[in-house]
Subunit: 304 residues, 2 copies
DNA sequence: CGCTTCCATACGTCCAATATATGAATTCAC
DNA sequence: GTGAATTCATATATTGGACGTATGGAAGCG
């Protein structure tokens, strides 16, 4: 059976008349008769009662006509559906993000705008650490993720830098250094540090440690916390100081003050990663277009 | 687009591999590639990502694969559905019947057995007068009807006699004639009759009047009632006597007694009618088979 | 770097869908 | 009742397109 049989059958059912149906289909009457006979033979069912003046659906024909019409409609819709998914208007996107990402104003803005523009794209959001996100993208558990610099291999992943923000020093509110407009890193050499464990934030961790080394000291870590929000809270509790992505000052936590770092300023990069193999997935392409549109100018690397 | 495209597409989607899919389909790889390309061109959408090692569905391809599988399943089901309707296993039948029919034991038995055998056939039942039923069948308001003899034209209708039962005299319980084992019609010549109006039961009405005429008198009608059940109740109330189909004694109404009529015994025929044009409608054929199976031997007439 | 794998392209073949011509059954006109 | 008209079925010819065979080309692998 082919869709041709269904199309011809529905035409005859509509017209109740082979000759008229054939004309409507733009073919001759004999081939139409043959196709219908072929369909009836394949089904093992007489679909029409042949009358002196045209034809009428049999009981089985009536049932089959309903099904055939629905199938033909479904075929049309399937094509339309595929086109809409391909255009990025429909479908899904699973987004992962590092804990600190939502504090950069660009990220909520991008998400809000994406959902507004593509309301028919199922949008899911997940927060994890950068290494966990890299693995999730690789394993096809999420399609795209906002991450901090990746330490290990990023084989099979494409990367695009979204923002490269200045890091700030985060101090308990009453801290001696809180009065300074700008803080040279060396001033922190004797301070107790609150940092990520290296396992969850190796990239940023190394960046911070390297900056301290360049300034001439090795940070003394007294407390670790996996999530940047926890770090801020620990600082607020007076446990120590830290160096954090600038956007974290949007967390507005009482008891914590952020101060610029004297040059050279260490940078916290926020990047987007996705599977290279799925680089053309329509929803991903739409998301990247949107970021490019909303983001301040930023350099971009590809295929890390 | 043809179902071939969908079948081929699903095979490739399943295998993730043109060559293997082609083998499974029993065709060569090049024609398969061409058919898929043709489908992609028609949809205006790339359904597969071509990988070094086989192919993978694109986002749109994934969506289309779901739809395609459903459509192919629906096509199979539509065929099966049509076959089941054609076999009489599925579908509907609208049955009409004259008020007196359910009192003949065969009728409830037939209906019960039909519903038991064909539980998936939607069965509707309607009671009307014989002329109304003939019109309803003709107008395709019911598919088949149990009727008493039809007076007027039965153009376009087929008829089959179901039973040809003896008529009985129905008397009020205390009636003088109630003591007799058998009643010659002439004994009723002075009795008041309760009969159908001729308009609703012309066939049976004429049969009764003719029988009386043969016996040598003209019945004196004192009361008319359109439904046979009403006639029985009027007799029970003592308003008169009547001549009724024998099966009406199954109504078991207090105050009415039934007595056989002396030869020649007038007959009340119960027939099935249906549209000649729909004589092969599967549910009708099944019903007639069933009646033939359950009915006592009976003569049959065709194409009245 | 050659071998393998796998999809795409090129081209010839053949079946099946279509066209044309005609037949058969029924209706309609008169 | 006979001839014309209508309409679906059948017969035969034609052709487009699906398929097969051969080959190319890109990528991975040892």
């Amino acid at each position: 059976m082919e869709l041709r049989h269904l199309r011809y059958f529905v035409a005859v059912a509509d017209e109740g008349h082979f000759t008229r149906a054939a004309k409507r289909l733009g073919i001759g009457q004999p081939p139409l008769s043959l196709q219908i006979q072929q369909l009836e033979r394949e089904l093992g069912v007489l679909l029409f009662r042949r009358l002196p003046r045209g034809v009428a659906l049999s009981e089985a024909g009536r049932a089959f006509a309903d099904d055939a019409r629905r199938i033909l409609r479904d075929v049309d819709r399937a094509g339309e559906h595929a086109r809409r998914v391909a255009s990025g208007e429909l479908g899904r996107i699973r987004v992962g993000m590092i804990n600190s990402a939502p504090f950069h104003p660009l990220i909520p803005q991008v998400i809000r705008e994406f959902r507004r523009r593509y309301p028919n794209v199922a949008f899911s959001l997940e927060e994890r650490s950068t290494p966990a996100l890299a693995a999730a993208v690789r394993d096809d558990a999420v399609d795209v993720a906002f991450v901090r610099p990746i330490h290990g291999s990023s084989e099979g992943l494409d990367t695009e830098t979204i923002v490269d923000e200045d890091m700030l020093v985060a101090l308990p509110a009453g801290h001696a250094l809180a009065g300074r407009r700008q803080i040279p890193l060396l001033a922190l050499s004797i301070e107790p540090f609150v940092l990520f464990p290296r396992t969850v934030g190796a990239g940023l961790h190394d960046e911070i440690v390297a900056a301290c080394r360049r300034a001439g000291f090795s940070p003394r870590v007294v407390q670790e916390a996996s999530q940047v929000t926890s770090i801020v809270n620990l600082i607020a509790s007076g446990l120590g100081v830290s160096i954090l992505p600038g956007s974290m000052q949007h967390m507005h936590t009482d008891g914590v003050v952020f101060r610029p770092i004297a040059r050279p300023i260490p940078k916290a990069r926020l990047s987007l990663i996705w599977r290279h193999a799925d680089r053309d997935a329509p929803q991903l392409v739409r998301l990247r277009e949107l970021i490019r549109e909303l983001a301040p100018v930023s350099r971009r690397g590809r295929r890390a």
